[in-house]
Amino acid sequence: MTFVRGVLCLVIVLASSWAVAQGTADKGGADTRRSGYQDMGEALQKMQADDTANPGMLFVQLGGQLWGKAAGAAGKSCADCHGGVASMKGVAARYPAIPKGSDSPVDLEGRIDLCRTANQQADRLPSGSRELLALEAYVAHQSRGLPVSPPDDPRLAPFRAHGKDLWQARQGQLNLSCANCHDDNAGRKLAGVTIPQAHPTGYPIYRLEWQTLGSLKRRLRNCLVGIRAEPYAYDAPDYVMLELFLMDRARGMPLESPAVRP
């Protein structure tokens, strides 16, 4: 099916290559940005909104169990330093950010890694592991409903600019950029689905396609494979830079973590 889908992607995108209204806030105009939530059917919106039906909440629960569990040579848990998780309110809304003593940005996953290795003196949790996603979900859930608020740090500007370049660069065998789909053709149909504006307001998300919780990195890798490009290495800084650009583009939109998406 890979080939068929590839052709389908190509044909549809080429057939609709004229620009349509971009999903961004125009200067002085109405905010036309839409969360993927708004493009879902009623059944999936209900699933996300009901904490007892949203499967992402199982991971939030697991994150809560891990939060209090000591790890590493230091024998400390997250709670030993941070206290209750309420102290994490707003954190997910402003990441990626540059941690103290560093000069390059990390995403929430990277921040948890730093805590694990430096403070708990424990091994890193593997990217994409259930434990890491659960901790991310537990932290991000504290910012649910808060507006995306990237920090006012001028050092982030060059990284964000690079993220924007990546967003706009054509790549892969289909020679498509992220912007070709998610700016130029957002709201149109690709096969049976509406192309979203790609605002990362719900991560980590419970994606029905995955049947589990997953990160923005996993979603970006999917997109890269979709346009037949080689995904960046798992630890490449490109993901963080793309996220910086995307979070700025979604500035002010409410966080939904853990969101449900098809």
Partner: protein, 151 residues
């Protein structure tokens, strides 16, 4: 054969080989009928009293919310004792069966199911008096565009 014609032919050949089903055998309308017959035997199945709530357009077949509700007083004298749900195109026709009784108060059950393709779903309810009532729904599962391949 010029190069362009060759390429076009090769593309069609690839599409044909990838589109033809090669997975495990699917359940069929016949298989579903056989699975239903196992539950109801020779008893007549009437349409009505059962309602099957499913989104008509499914955005991803991996998780499809479904609610089956059956009209019944749910008293000791008259209650729904079982609800069965079947499909016709997944690898197997059975989806789930539940046993109920007067203690439930309402003959309503909700869950989430997987649907491999657009198809018909059938729910059958069995009353304490041994009657069978049913409802069916046709569901369209939309084709997703960019799926995760092995990454």
């Amino acid at each position: 054969m010029d190069r362009r014609r060759f390429l076009a032919g090769a593309a069609v050949a690839t599409m044909v080989t990838t589109v033809l089903p090669c997975g495990p055998a699917s359940a069929t309308p016949e298989a579903m009928a056989a699975a239903i017959a196992k539950v109801v035997g020779n008893a007549p199945v009437r349409e009505g009293r059962v309602s099957l709530d499913l989104p008509p357009l499914v955005e991803n077949g991996n998780t499809v919310p479904l609610v089956v509700s059956v009209e019944s007083p749910m008293t000791e004298a008259d209650y729904i004792k079982a609800i069965h749900v079947f499909n016709e195109k997944n690898p197997q026709p059975d989806v789930f069966s539940v046993r109920l009784g007067p203690r439930n108060g309402r003959a309503v059950v909700g869950t989430r199911i997987k649907l491999g393709d657009s198809q018909k779903i059938v729910a059958i309810a069995e009353t304490s008096g041994g009657q069978f009532w049913s409802a069916s729904a046709d569901v369209i599962v939309t084709l997703a565009a960019c799926l995760e391949e092995a990454t």
